[in-house]
Symmetry: C2
Subunit: 118 residues, 2 copies
DNA sequence: CGGCATCCACTTGGATACTG
DNA sequence: CAGTATCCAAGTGGATGCCG
């Protein structure tokens, strides 16, 4: 996780990397977007909807929960059910995701659009 | 690289992930920050300063170059030398890195600072 | 149903020798 | 010196069985 071998990590680098690692990985973004668009979801629903293995889903949700981006709520139903949802705090990630979305779109133009305009 | 199995990747997700993958990995950020703070660097300098293996450095620089974030300049010196540096375009990444830095710092407070304020 | 344990495949990054 | 090829270690994600 924190394998920085130079003093690059000092001020700016560390904070940027913290943010980076929180949303990195194959499923973090997909999960947050799913909650954002469809609301609360149960464990099994996520497994089926996203076609993610339970082992991985469990780990991803735990990490998101540790970072206070999602909540885990146990329902006292006949079989047991657990609901996951994003927190209000998770919305603050918008200040990061929005610029990333915009830059990504511009970059696609920069790379693909101007491919042969040397 | 692009293993999105749901329609989550549609609009927003794709662009965000594009940006994410460009700056992900162990060395991308360190390299860009090194150029930013110390200016142009030769291949061997980077290997020694960062303690990165040549194989990995070569791959990382190629990827950054493909995304037009760094330039590669061959010098016609006695032994051969190659200089790498960031492009002006790379500076536009600031609109992404700055919010990431700020959110990362706030998040550190949110997680560590308020650890026992439930 | 939630989710952990086990086993496995693929990817990422490192060490090092070697070539132009 | 720059960069590649080879080999290898560790991490990440997937499949599946099992248990409470």
């Amino acid at each position: 996780m924190e394998h920085l071998n130079e003093k690059e990590c000092k001020s700016a680098g560390m904070a940027v990397r913290d943010t980076l690692e929180i949303i990195s990985g194959k499923w973090k973004l997909i999960l947050l977007l799913t909650f954002y668009k469809k609301g609360k979801r149960r464990f099994r629903e996520l497994v089926k909807e996203l076609n993610i293995s339970p082992r991985v889903l469990s780990k991803e949700l735990q990490e998101l929960e540790m970072n206070k981006l999602v909540t885990r709520t146990v329902r006292n139903t006949r079989p047991m059910t657990v609901e996951y949802d994003i927190t209000p705090y998770c919305r603050t990630l918008g200040s990061v995701l929005q610029p990333m979305k915009e830059w990504g779109e511009l970059h696609r133009q920069e790379i693909i659009g101007k491919k042969n305009s040397e």
